[in-house]
């Protein structure tokens, strides 16, 4: 899942980005409203963590413009403004959540995960397909009850596929939602990670779960053997 952190106070931004990356998210960062709008232009972030008092364009204006553009990202205001009226204004403007500084980082994580569940219309924190379990809270994956050891990137890819069970997701979708590192989307990074993931979760004795749809992308589903 890909996030955008918009915060002008450098020490806080650094720690947020670090903490969120370590929690398995792909994270972009911005220090002011203008840059935030530029980052969010394609709507590829699942959640935008937005400060209100920002240089150049303030957070409320950023949100207003995002909503005008029909940007599908969920937005969480993370701000020092704490009056009920501030919260009301933020939520009425179209924010999906509001958290006041200072906050407990674990709560921010939980809220971000809850927003992602809402975004993908999954209520369960443990996603299941056949005998595969993806526990999004503890970031643990089990196949037939046995833990599968995945790297952060592999887990992020699987979680994204699991949130889209039964739907074909394109390489571009995967690229946008899972990765924040510098590489051209045309490269075969996605295919490489899909290959790594298949090796780890698929067994010769169990049915295949990750399917390739030539020219369309990938699909996580339990299909009847053809």
């Amino acid at each position: 899942m890909r996030l955008l952190v918009v915060e002008d106070f450098q020490p806080l931004r650094e720690s947020l980005v670090q903490g969120l990356r370590e929690a398995g998210f792909a994270v972009d960062e911005a220090t002011d409203g203008q840059t935030a709008l530029w980052h969010a232009r394609n709507g590829e972030h699942d959640v935008i963590i937005l400060d209100i008092m920002l240089p150049k364009v303030d957070g409320l204006s950023v949100l207003r413009q995002l909503r005008e553009r029909k940007c599908p990202s969920m937005v969480l205001f993370l701000t020092a403004k704490d009056t009920p009226q501030d919260r009301i204004d933020g939520l009425e403007l179209g924010a999906d959540d509001y958290l006041v500084k200072p906050f407990v980082f674990a709560e921010l994580l939980a809220r971000v995960r809850a927003m992602i569940r809402r975004k993908y219309e999954t209520q369960a924190t443990v996603l299941r397909i056949a005998d595969l379990e993806v526990d999004t809270t503890h970031r643990v994956v089990r196949r037939a009850g046995k833990p599968v050891d995945l790297s952060g990137r592999e887990y992020a890819l699987l979680e994204y596929l699991a949130h889209n069970i039964g739907r074909i997701v394109s390489r571009a979708d995967i690229w946008q939602h899972v990765y924040d590192f510098n590489a051209s989307p045309e490269s075969n990074v996605v295919d490489v990670y899909i290959g790594l993931l298949r090796k780890k979760i698929e067994r010769p004795d169990s049915p295949r779960l990750i399917h390739t749809r030539r020219g369309q992308g990938y699909l996580l589903a339990e299909l009847e053997p053809a």
């Binding site: 020490p11 840059t35 008092m53 240089p55 303030d58 200072p102 906050f103």
Partner: protein, 505 residues
């Protein structure tokens, strides 16, 4: 001392009414008594004249010739009147009622005189004394001898005054009764009038009573209040307005303080939590600790600025005036910011002729200069220009700190000195420039008996001009070193501009 206005008004007006009524009653009584007595005197005199009219002189002898029924009072056994006449030499004639008693003989002189006395039978009475000259009755012979010359008679007539005393006494009681009744009625009327008069005061009091410190927007209405109270209401409303704005400022200030401390606090907590979330190698812990120290130092700087401001507001800042070389101070202070300016590629135009001695408090002046340099280095455009000018102008020292790249519209020049004001709704570097610097500079420059102003008129240039009183009377050079506590931490001094937006995907 009566505290209640209503009671005081009531008591005072009642006392006034009672005194006026009492005096009026007394005057009325005295008038009536005078008229009653004068009438009594008149009737006594008439009686005396009637007695005198009966006097007949027969030769040397004078008799009062009257029949008992003509002047019955002088004969009556009960409550009689009396008369006594003295005829020189040594002849005394008494009324039958007097018997052998005597009326006091008054000194002769006035034609008619009145005296109060006790009658021989013990009753209080009044006596009129008159003198008259007898007329000589012609003899039957029609001759009159030489010896038959007229004689002077002093006649006193006395009668009791019981009746008028009784009348006056009745009148007194009546008058006193009416006066008391009038006072009571007046009091009742006054209670009502005073009640009505103080009602606006009571209304205002109850309005004031309903004022609460958390809602000072209420204003007292002058509605039915008398004109005498209007200035009081106006003054109270003025006071309320002052209080309201002071409270609002205080509230906004507190909210701003809380707000400004929240973001660095959030940074501290997040850094701690993220750092503790998994085992890390030593360098990661050291980095996290350094970061937290940096954040804490920023918070400390802000809190200390706030403290200085609060002390300045409370008038608790003391001055230690000493002969100071302002040029040297500028040099020393600039040394703290030079690395940052260099890192940002800023050009420096230094127009300070040295040395400039003035009598000032170098510690306070240093804080001002630090803030001005800090702002200039932070807000100048990349590769922009900084200009520092100092010059003596008759009895003033002008220090100008200017930077290019001003984004502040001219109209905002006044707001710059408001606490927590920022040119950009929220510029970069929360916690470093929280909008207190210029406010602090303004307070401190006032403390140093100078003033500070901002010029944004010149396109692109942001100029702060500090004016201080000068020159010093005693131009002896004196070393000044910056107290260690005032030197910003190396990490802050070396800090570079925040990185441009992080790499795009």
């Amino acid at each position: 001392m009566i505290r209640s206005l209503r009671l005081r008004l009531l008591v005072h007006t009642s006392l006034g009414a009672a005194i006026v009524l009492g005096l009026l009653g007394l005057a009325l009584y005295l008038g009536v008594r005078r008229s009653v007595e004068s009438e009594y005197n008149q009737s006594l005199l008439t009686e005396a004249r009637a007695v005198a009219a009966t006097a007949e002189q027969h030769g040397q002898q004078i008799v009062f010739d009257y029949a008992p029924d003509e002047l019955p009072k002088f004969v009556a056994a009960d409550h009689p009147d009396y008369f006594q006449a003295w005829i020189d030499p040594g002849v005394v004639i008494r009324s039958p009622s007097l018997g052998h008693g005597d009326l006091p003989r008054p000194p002769t002189g006035a034609a008619v005189s009145y005296h109060d006395l006790l009658l021989p039978d013990g009753r209080p009475g009044r006596m009129v004394t008159m003198s008259f000259t007898t007329t000589i009755e012609p003899n039957a012979t029609g001759n009159s001898s030489n010896a038959d010359s007229s004689r002077t008679v002093i006649l006193s007539v006395a009668s009791d005054t019981l009746s008028i005393q009784r009348t006056l006494e009745n009148f007194r009681w009546l008058l006193a009764g009416w006066c008391c009744l009038a006072v009571v009625v007046c009091g009742a009327v006054l209670v009502w009038i005073v009640g009505r008069a103080v009602r606006p005061v009571e209304r205002i009091a109850s309005d004031i009573d309903q004022l609460r410190e958390n809602d000072l927007s209420v204003r007292l209405s002058s509605g039915d209040a008398p004109t005498e109270l209007a200035p009081v209401i106006d003054k109270l409303n003025g006071l309320l307005s002052h209080l309201e704005s002071a409270f609002a400022r205080e509230k906004a200030f507190t909210a701003d303080v809380a707000h400004e401390l929240r973001t660095p606090l959030a940074a501290l907590l997040t850094t701690f939590e993220v750092c503790r979330s998994r085992p890390r190698d030593e360098s990661a812990y050291v980095a996290a600790i350094d970061k937290c120290r940096d954040v804490a130092q920023r918070m400390q700087a802000m809190v200390e600025t706030l403290l200085v401001l609060a002390r300045a507001d409370a008038g608790q800042l003391s001055l230690k005036l000493q002969n100071t070389d302002a040029a040297d101070l500028l040099d020393v202070c600039w040394a703290l910011f030079a690395p940052r300016a260099q890192a940002r590629g800023l050009q420096l135009q230094w127009q300070v002729p040295g040395p400039i001695f003035i009598e000032t408090d170098p510690e306070r002046l240093l804080i001002i200069l630090q803030n001005l340099f800090d702002n200039a280095v932070s807000y100048a455009n990349d590769a922009g220009t900084l200009r520092v000018t100092a010059r003596l102008d008759s009895d003033r020292l002008l220090i100008e700190v200017a930077n290019t790249g001003s984004l502040i519209p001219p109209g905002d020049a006044d707001q710059l000195f408001e606490r927590f004001w920022r040119g950009d709704q929220a510029r970069a570097d929360t916690g470093v420039h929280c909008g207190l610097g210029l406010s602090l500079c303004q307070r401190l420059s006032r403390l140093l008996n100078g003033h500070i102003q901002v010029q944004t008129a010149q396109r692109d240039w942001f100029i702060v001009r500090l004016t201080l009183p000068a020159p010093s009377r005693d131009p002896r050079p004196r070393d000044f070193s910056i107290p260690a506590s005032m030197i910003p931490p190396a990490s802050a001094a070396m800090q570079t501009v925040p990185a441009a937006p992080s790499s795009a995907p």
